[in-house]
Amino acid sequence: MSGQDRISASVAVKEGQAVCAACGHDLGPATKPWKDHAQRREIPLAQAGGQAYDTGHEGVLLRHFYCPGCAALLDTETAMAGDPALDDILAERG
């Protein structure tokens, strides 16, 4: 890392650890996938809310990654069943 203090607007970095930007809950090392430490929910896109997401097609998922501490929604992903989570990580400080 090069001195920055966040992975995204919702996931900050404190002393090398990824933390929830809202409550500071520890989400593991910033150089590892923080989503492994988040609460994950996977729902059919049609159930995401509103009619616009109800496409009439099955098999499309919307993943939610929540902070286990305060329930803030940290990230979302469109996915199909079995596809791996998208990992965003910072490099080891040189």
Binding site: Q4, A52, V60, Y66, T76, E77
Partner: protein, 606 residues
């Protein structure tokens, strides 16, 4: 070089491109060019490297550089003043056959000193389907006329035999002629102005300024990269075509002053024409990179140097001949663009300095719908629904996305007036408006996309037909950021009129459900729009940014009042309760508390 002269030459190069674009539009007669701004003009150095990227579709800046280099290789020793070359082969440099490059060498005192290149999406290219996008093409051989390089103008004289041969292979040759002549005029203006610049300052001085400009861009871009955090960001796009789904996977790695875009793991090339070649993928990733990371840096070869692309051969992002590619610009290229936009947005969001430059994905899903048939004047018309260029802005870290806000890869994109379309085609719009719930929810909402419905009107043949290359009705493609939802997917519906002949009044307020008839989803192929049937299209909004349940409830109320968000979504997604048009603060707090509780009752992460 003294800084004043350098600055003057730099600005003159900008103005040359601007004037060439104006010329192109003045001569062109097609809506896709004049109304949609599906065009590009840029300047290149003597060796074909990018010197001054212009406006228009930015995917073309690097591909046209490769077109220049390819012409240099093919015609080595036989390139003369006043020549103009045509190139549209996707396996050589172009994005797809209907985006024709005209490449002009620029000479000064007998020496080749630069190139100008431009493109427009020509009216037709003779593919199996009218308009250039060919969802029914099984291979490149059925995607129309394709040249890896041919001399169209020799020493200032049109090669009539070549022109006639091309026009003999396309529909509406008079319109294609106009397209080609608009590009010739454009390149002629660029050449004349470049020659004037060199006459005034000297070819050596101008070339020195160009070299310095390229080095300056490289230095500035590398410096910016060093300011950004080192790390790795991922994105994934799904392209649904005819019931099949293809993936574009991207891992972007930033290390010091280098940026690597790795598309390993993307699906093999498709039997459908959504594939793209490696030159097209390169253009696709640079289209968002130029405006997002280099908004204050001149777009040229210097920006390309710190960037590496890995695109596995035989994949959907680096297909091999004869795979079909005619839908590439709205297919794999756009997905490459979206994935790059997403990863760049994430990287910017990780930077304290640049976090406010971060944006969720904009208008991620073009819908290429080409209407064709006999018009109300008895002539033949072919033309795209230019609403595909209307787009929607992705939300930013501090503000909502722009409604119907265009798109990142084309800073000047826009759509035609309804009246323009109705004057050229035997159709009437039932409505065209912002589509509720299309913008991705978030603390900052993605900009809304739109929706429209068309019916035949005064059509001598009872209606028209249309070619639709409509993916993205299954998977949302405008990804959100930091907890923001994706923009809603597209929707394409053929409303078949009731057989009893009854007509139901249609109002703008009623939308799709107010149109009488049976609804059938369409997405890929050729369909009729006849009699009293209607075609309904909804296009995607931008991705959202941040958790929707921390959005200012007043903003949600305002959205509902404006028809941008439905009451259902206000409650279900944003956790906002409205009563008599006002926010019920007590119920809103309770609703949001309930949503948070429900979130923590889910199963633990894997």
């Amino acid at each position: 070089m003294d800084p004043m002269t350098f600055s003057i030459i730099r600005h003159r190069l900008f103005r040359i491109v601007d004037e060439a674009v104006i010329t192109l539009k003045h001569v062109s007669g097609s809506a896709i060019t004049n109304e949609g701004h599906d065009l590009m003009v840029s300047l290149y150095r003597a060796d074909g490297t990018l010197l001054m990227g212009g406006v228009g579709f930015l995917h073309h800046l690097t591909s046209a550089a490769e077109a220049c280099k390819s012409i240099i290789r093919r015609f080595e020793g036989d390139i003369h003043e006043g020549d103009i070359f045509l190139l549209n082969d996707p396996y050589t440099a172009a994005l797809h056959t209907s985006d024709i490059y005209l490449v002009s060498p620029i000479h000064h005192e007998g020496r080749l000193v630069a190139w100008s290149a431009c493109f427009v999406h020509v009216y037709d290219i003779g593919a199996v389907n009218p308009g250039g996008f060919a969802p029914q093409a099984p291979d490149i051989y059925t995607e129309g006329f394709s040249s890896p390089g041919i001399r169209l103008v020799a020493g200032g004289e049109m090669r009539q035999d070549v022109l006639d041969t091309i026009l003999n292979m396309v529909r509406s040759p008079e319109m294609v002629t106009l397209d080609l002549r608009s590009m010739i005029a454009c390149n002629n203006v660029a050449r004349d102005r470049m020659q004037s610049l060199m006459t005034k300052y000297g070819a050596k001085e101008v070339d020195g300024a160009c070299a310095e400009l390229v080095n300056q861009s490289e230095d500035l871009f590398r410096a910016r990269l060093r300011e950004l955090p080192d790390g790795q960001w991922q994105s994934r796009q799904y392209l649904d075509v005819n019931g099949e789904t293809a993936r574009v996977n991207l891992t972007m790695t930033k290390k010091d002053d280098r940026l690597i875009f790795d598309f390993s793991g993307s699906d093999p090339q498709s039997p459908y024409s959504i594939n793209c070649t490696k030159w097209a993928s390169l253009g696709g990733l640079f289209a968002p990179l130029f405006p997002l990371l280099c908004y204050d840096i001149t777009w040229n070869e210097g920006v390309l140097r710190p960037v590496e692309m890995i695109a596995p051969e035989g994949s959907i992002v680096n297909c091999t001949r004869p795979a079909p590619v005619s839908v590439a610009t709205v297919g794999a290229i756009q997905s490459v663009n979206n994935a790059a936009c997403s990863t760049i947005g994430k990287m910017l969001g990780a930077s304290e300095k640049y976090r406010n430059q971060s944006t969720a994905v904009w208008h991620a899903n073009h819908f290429a719908i080409f209407k064709f048939g006999r018009n109300q004047k008895g002539g033949d018309s072919i033309g795209i629904l230019t609403e595909t260029f209307a787009g929607a802005g992705g939300a930013r870290s501090f503000a909502d996305g722009v409604e119907i806000g265009g798109e990142i890869p084309n800073p000047i994109s826009r759509m035609a007036n309804v009246e323009t379309v109705e004057a050229a085609f035997p159709v009437r719009y039932l409505f065209r408006r912002r589509a509720p719930d299309s913008g991705g929810p978030g603390e900052y909402r993605g900009g809304t996309g739109g929706e429209l419905a068309l019916v035949p009107h005064k059509a001598p043949d009872g209606g028209i037909n249309y070619v639709i290359s409509g993916k993205g009705s299954r998977h949302p493609m405008s990804e959100g950021l930091a907890g923001g939802y994706p923009g809603a997917p597209n929707s394409y519906v053929w409303v078949k009129a009731p057989e009893d002949g009854a007509n139901t009044p249609v109002t703008a307020a009623g939308g799709l459900d107010a149109i009488s008839g049976t609804q059938e989803r369409v997405s890929w192929g050729v369909y009729p729009l006849m009699g009293r049937d209607a075609l309904y299209v909804r296009w995607n909004g931008g991705g959202g940014h941040g958790d929707p349940i921390v959005r200012d409830p007043e903003a949600v109320r305002s959205d509902v009042a404006a028809g941008l968000v439905t009451l259902q979504s206000a409650g279900d997604i944003y956790g906002v309760a409205l009563r008599d048009g006002a926010v019920d603060e007590t119920e809103t707090m309770a609703k949001r508390k309930s949503i948070r509780s429900a979130r923590l009752q889910q199963e633990a992460s894997e």
